[in-house]
Amino acid sequence: MRAVIAEDSVLLRVGLVKVLEMAGFLVAADVGDADALLTAVDQHRPELALIDVRMPPSFTDEGVRAALVIRRQWPRTAVVLLSQYVEERYAADLLTAHTDGVGYLLKQRVADVEDFIAAVRRVADGGTALDPEVVAQLLLRRRSDPLSRLTPREREVLALMAEGRSNAGIAEALVVSDSAVAKHINNIFAKLALPAADADHRRVLAVLQFLGAAPPN
């Protein structure tokens, strides 16, 4: 799989190249700003773009805007945003438009190389990866809606779903059995009154509702 990296700090860019190479990606290009990123994605059509949120020239949300362009123009390229701090609006912008192949992580997570690689692979395979801190902050905001009917355990499970984990991953993280997780998830679906269509679709809807990106139905 090929990847493109956009990060303005040269030091960190070198580190990211090494990490992605270790994860088995072929780094086709590593650039320092959003324009160069779009050119590189257009040229290489990678499976993954790893993008810093703050980049020149204005150091605000260049990365987020580039990520939205990439997801729209080249849907086969998954994007992972790296941010210095949690900005829930960025995460919401990204997740409102797309529910697969997106990730939003804090920069310091890169240091946990194994976890970071797992998250990046998950996104490249079409999954999602949200930073636990992003999730915690979103959870804080959405307290007054149907989500308030969830038990603390169910909220934990939903938060892990939002991070992009599978049932097995959730079971491992909470140290419970797979069937217990399935039961929690069914309770969540019931409490959020999600239609009994296929499981993946309901899962995405639950996460979206959790993130406040979709209105409760």
Binding site: L11, L12, G15, V19, Y85, V110, A111, Q137, R141
Partner: protein
């Protein structure tokens, strides 16, 4: 040698004082002439109706006279007579009315018209004392016709006057140096008002300077140290993941280093957040406070309703208040939840942090609350804590949105 220096200083001082006093004579006499003019009109022509004319001429001349006196004080004595604030009104008739009705104009009139002739008399006396002193001590030179004892008397008188004249000149100069600023300068009220304005301005500058310095440090740490630490941690993480065939103690060392690097990043993040979080500058209070609340280990409701953003300094004080308050809640309050609201009431930003804990917070003892009150006070805000034993604790800070 020492005596010589003392003598020289005394001489220089006497010269300065006398020069100052002498320069005052024509100025003050000029005013005395107004009196002569006025009195003559009345006595000779018995024409009371014409009296206002010299007086009006005098009034017109007041600003110039005052300026000349101010210059005399500064140039000859080194005493600064501050210039009163200019009359704010621009258009002529109203400006004149304002000028005529202000107390400081009449203080100047008093100085020039009443005190002036008196001062002129004293100043003339000083010069006369000098003249007599010189005449006395040099009596031997020209008074050979007089009997010797009279000449001796003259000389003795001259010597005494030579000692008295500098003292008299000094006393006159000192008195004038006090009178001129009091009557020609701004009044006490005006001086205080100006001082307060100046202090308020310089305090605002200082606070803004401190705040922008915090931001600069934040940026430097973020762009430099933080990136370097993350990069270090990434490399150590890579080493840990790839170097699997190392001896155990080498692996332990790498694990340890990796963990330390990650802790250093976390500590640096906390430090930077305490200084001035980047999210506050970029996204404002709402985003920064929810980030803060999400890291507190108990449920915190956040509601920010302020419309347009407040001044950066005010935002950072508000952030600091909530940050400290939540830290206190976590540490001391045994609370199960907390509420943070920030709202704009007119020109005030009102920050309210409430928890359902055990209460009993004390703002007086050298606590964090004390520091909070100081920081709020630095932007002219008010700070209240209500924390009865048994709770709940409510902390309210009201800050001006603009400095």
């Amino acid at each position: 040698m020492r005596n010589f220096r003392t003598l020289r200083r005394a001489f220089l001082r006497a010269r300065r004082d006398t020069g100052f006093v002498a320069a005052g004579i024509p100025l003050h006499l000029a005013l005395a002439s107004q009196w002569v003019w006025g009195v003559t009109i009345v006595l000779k022509a018995n024409a009371w109706a014409v009296v206002p004319i010299p007086f009006a001429l005098f009034l017109v001349g007041i600003p110039t006279l005052t300026a000349v006196q101010r210059h005399r004080c500064r140039a000859l004595l080194g005493v600064d007579v501050p210039r009163p604030a200019p009359t704010p009104e621009r258009r002529w008739p109203r400006r004149a009315v304002r000028w005529l009705s202000s107390a400081r104009t009449w203080r100047q009139v008093g100085y020039h018209l009443l005190l002036g002739p008196l001062l002129a008399a004293v100043e003339l006396l000083v010069l006369a004392a000098w003249a007599a002193a010189v005449a006395g001590v040099t009596a031997f030179g020209y008074a050979s016709a007089l009997p010797v004892y009279q000449t001796l008397l003259c000389t003795a008188g001259g010597v005494v006057l030579l000692c008295v004249a500098p003292w008299l000149a000094g006393a006159t100069a000192r008195t004038e140096a006090r009178l001129a600023p009091a009557l020609l300068g701004p009044s006490r009220n005006e001086r205080l008002r100006r001082r307060v304005e100046h202090l308020a301005e310089s305090r605002t500058d200082l606070i803004e300077a401190v705040d922008s310095e915090r931001r600069r440090i934040e940026r430097d740490l973020h762009d430099g140290t933080q990136q370097r630490l993350v990069s270090l941690a990434v490399n150590l993480g890579l080493a840990r993941a790839t170097l699997t065939d190392l001896p155990d103690d080498a692996r332990t060392a790498i694990d340890e280093a990796h963990r330390e690097a990650k802790e250093a990043i976390a500590e640096l993040n906390d430090l930077v957040r305490g200084l001035h979080p980047a999210v506050l500058e970029d996204r404002g209070l709402d985003a920064a406070l929810s980030g803060l609340a999400a890291r507190v280990p108990l449920p915190v409701g956040v509601r920010v309703d302020i419309g347009e953003r407040a001044a950066p300094v005010v935002e950072s004080v508000a952030y600091f208040v909530v940050s400290e308050a939540l830290a206190n809640v976590t540490k001391h309050a045994r609370a199960t939840r907390a509420e943070v609201t920030v709202e704009r009431i007119g020109k005030l930003l009102r920050v309210n942090v409430t928890d359902d804990g055990s209460g009993g917070a004390d703002a007086s003892a050298g606590s964090g609350l004390n520091g909070l009150a100081r920081r709020v006070g630095s932007v002219d805000g008010t700070f209240r804590v209500s924390s009865p034993a048994g709770g709940p604790t409510t902390l309210i800070a009201e800050l001006p949105c603009e400095l």
